[in-house]
């Protein structure tokens, strides 16, 4: 090709000849110095990066160490063997009544608590009941319900020990409690095992009876509502805004609003939820459905923003390719754009959901801080969630709550890791599908 005639325009004149360059000395001292400096810069950068990673890993290890150190004890519970002489006790239950449908009434009518106290006094001396958890009689009741025949004999029932004894067993109590525990231990009536109560129960005023299941179930239900709402709505909004909406002032306004929403402090969403869902729409207070709705409002902008970025990064040539063989807009979006954008969308969803799972403030506003002693049965029943439960327990004065708080934090972290693990698994699957 003749360069002077590019595009048919003849060259107007010869350019002045460029001055001759001195040949570059690639092996000279100056070059060597710049190579050394380049290596040094790379080493510095690597060290800095490594340092940053180590620092954050250090924080993480410290967090896990303290949590596991404190919290692992929350998963165990010391029990005492209580000898109950049922025939000699004041307890009057007709074993026949326990077989029929009147079982609950029969159990409720009997003074099992009194019988338990009496048995404790008999077994451990005066004040013996103070060695037992306030809920020890519930264990006795459950034992009777499970096997009414024990009413006719002397029975040995393992009941939860009081907080002081429990802490003493774990080597963290006042000297007199330690002494009391040592005596019991010597008598061979103690054992420390997995605290099933903690995994089964909901909140309680007695730290030996509290459980994390109520809050965990509340969190599960709330997250369910959040993802079912926020994910489809967020993804569809992102798709619409990127693929269909015309570029004009209105869509600019929407874009700005969404970016602002993502930055609004979460407590404001709580107030919004309170005003809209509770006061205006009259939804039930403290219910997972309201918590989920509130958190969905908060999570949606995050998903929309991440989704739009992921959709934007799908190369336009893929859209052209599909349109060029006669795919409709919807087919282009659902066959090509969405699958390619999904990993990015899922990353945004992980971030949004993780934030929602750890959120406390907005849920306090809609009443999820209430004391709720039984796990929620459904989306509209009163519930609390893990972070709020942690907040409430950390506020308790009784020392028994310290380890329960840490244990609940471990449960929250495990939940978080499971949720993220599933999301990352899904993301990798979609990335590998091609």
């Amino acid at each position: 090709m003749n360069s002077t005639l590019v595009a048919g325009v003849p060259a107007t004149g010869a350019e002045p000849p460029a001055p001759a360059r001195t040949p570059t000395d690639w092996r000279g001292a100056k070059m060597q110095g710049s190579i050394r400096r380049r290596y040094a810069a790379e080493r510095r950068f690597r060290l800095l990066g490594l340092g940053a990673v180590l620092l954050s890993a250090g924080f993480l290890v410290f967090l896990l160490w303290t949590m596991v150190g404190n919290g692992a004890r929350g998963f165990t519970q010391t029990e005492l063997r209580l000898d109950v002489d049922f025939p000699a006790s004041t307890l009057m239950i007709d074993p026949a009544a326990l077989a029929g449908p009147g079982k609950d009434a029969a159990l409720a009518g009997a003074d099992i608590e009194g019988a338990t106290t009496a048995a404790a006094t008999a077994a451990f001396g005066t004040d013996g009941e103070r060695l037992l958890s306030d809920g020890a009689w519930l264990t006795v009741r459950d034992a009777i319900a499970a096997d009414p025949t024990i009413l006719r004999r002397k029975a040995q029932i393992w009941v939860p020990a009081a907080t002081n004894i429990d802490l003493a067993a774990k080597g963290d109590a006042a000297p007199e409690d330690e002494a009391a525990y040592a005596r019991l231990d010597k008598a061979g009536v103690t054992k420390t095992g997995l605290n099933l109560t903690f995994l089964k129960n909901a909140d309680s005023t007695d730290p030996t009876l509290v459980g994390v299941w109520g809050a965990l179930k509340g969190s599960l239900l709330t997250m369910f509502v959040t993802i079912v709402l926020a994910f489809p709505v967020g993804v569809l909004s992102a798709l619409y805004l990127e693929e269909y909406a015309p570029r004009n002032r209105w869509t600019d306004l929407i874009e700005v609003s969404i970016n602002n929403l993502a930055a609004v402090p979460s407590i404001i969403f709580g107030l919004l939820g309170l005003a809209v869902f509770l006061n205006f729409m009259d939804m039930p207070r403290s219910a997972p459905i309201v918590g989920g709705l509130t958190l969905a409002l908060m999570t949606m902008p995050v998903i929309v923003i991440a989704g739009r970025n992921a959709i934007k990064s799908v190369p336009p040539s893929i859209r052209d390719a599909a349109l060029g063989i006669g795919a409709s807009r919807v087919q282009v979006v659902f066959h090509h754009v969405l699958p390619l954008a999904l990993p990015g969308i899922l990353t945004g969803t992980i971030i949004g959901m993780a934030r929602a799972l750890g959120e406390t403030a907005p849920l306090l506003m809609i009443g999820m801080r209430a004391f709720i002693a039984s796990p929620p049965g459904g989306l509209t029943e009163p519930a609390t969630v893990l972070p709020v439960q942690i907040f409430l327990w950390s506020d308790e004065v009784s020392r028994g709550f310290v380890e329960k708080t840490s244990a609940a934090i471990i449960v929250l972290l495990v939940f978080l890791m499971l949720m993220n693990g599933i999301a990352i698994y899904l993301r990798n699957r979609f990335e590998r599908r091609w």
Binding site: M1, N2, L5, V6, A7, G8, R247, P315, S317, I318, R319, D320, A321, A322, L323, G324, I325, G326, A327, S328, Q331, H335, H336, L340, W434
Partner: protein
């Protein structure tokens, strides 16, 4: 390259005696925003002949080609004026269904753009969305035939499940050609289909064009003069957004009316 070799090549190209108009363009202008990329172009594409668009880079060949299947609709700044018809029907009319138009007027893009899916899926996608294959072995046949025609079958027959993007650039382009013909369009628009291909693959594509000639109306954009001379019966020379000359390929290469055409095909500029 001398004019003579081109003349020799072009002399072999016989314009079909019977001609049916497949597509026509009348007074087409294309604007990108305020900038005019195509200025008053009128052209006929016939069913029987291969039409080549030649011209220097940036003269608007791709732009004009994309008006023929309304791919310019996807560029928000682009605006098309004038009338373009397919079988006498205005393709910019409100009654024209763009999705069907693009199935009837297939396109191979300048840059290879396979889907990030398997090779099989790349070819099968078009027939599937248009419901062209009723059973799995119908689809298998369409896929094999399309890949064979595009000269890719032997290279990929053992790895149809591999990703289309894992192929070499030239293989990707042939995959895109296979994808376009799998839909069995009426017109095929090819935007420099051989720019990433070696001479062997190029020869295969040219063979394919020969084979498809008559069955499909074909429009091909190329920077390679010999290729235009070899495969086309009609040649259009574009320059700065205008159609300078359009006629039988043999005439354009042996006896151009315009000096600009002559300068371009003899390599004096462009």
């Amino acid at each position: 390259m001398t004019t003579d070799t081109l003349n020799d090549l072009a002399a072999h190209q016989q314009v079909a005696p019977v001609e049916t108009l497949k597509m026509t363009a009348r007074g087409v202008n294309v604007f990108y925003g305020a900038k005019q990329a195509i200025n008053n172009v009128s052209i006929d594409v016939t069913q029987e002949n291969v039409t080549a668009f030649i011209g220097p880079s940036g003269c608007g060949k791709s732009t004009f080609l994309r008006t023929l299947n309304r791919m310019n609709d996807t560029v928000s700044s682009a605006r098309v004026e004038g009338e373009i018809t397919l079988d006498g029907e205005n393709i910019y009319a409100a009654s024209m269904d763009v999705v069907q138009l693009r199935a009837r007027v297939g396109m191979v893009f300048q840059k290879p753009n396979p889907f990030p899916k398997s090779i099989y899926e790349n070819v099968a996608y078009g027939p599937r969305i248009h419901g062209l294959a009723s059973a799995k072995n119908d689809m298998d046949r369409i896929v094999e035939q399309s890949l064979r025609r595009a000269g890719l079958w032997d290279e990929v027959k053992d790895r149809l499940t591999d990703s289309g993007t894992a192929l070499s650039g030239g293989q990707q382009q042939r995959l895109c050609i296979a994808r376009a013909i799998a839909v069995d369009p009426e017109v095929i628009l090819m935007d420099e289909p051989c720019s990433a291909l070696d001479p062997i693959a190029t020869a295969k594509i040219e063979e394919l064009i020969h084979e498809l000639r008559g069955r499909y109306a074909i429009v091909i954009v190329t920077h390679n003069m010999q290729q235009a001379a070899r495969v086309s019966q009609r040649t259009a020379f574009f320059h700065l957004g205008t159609l300078v000359e359009y006629g039988d390929t043999s005439d354009i290469f042996t006896n151009p009316r315009e000096t600009r055409t002559k300068d371009y095909i003899t390599g004096r500029y462009g």
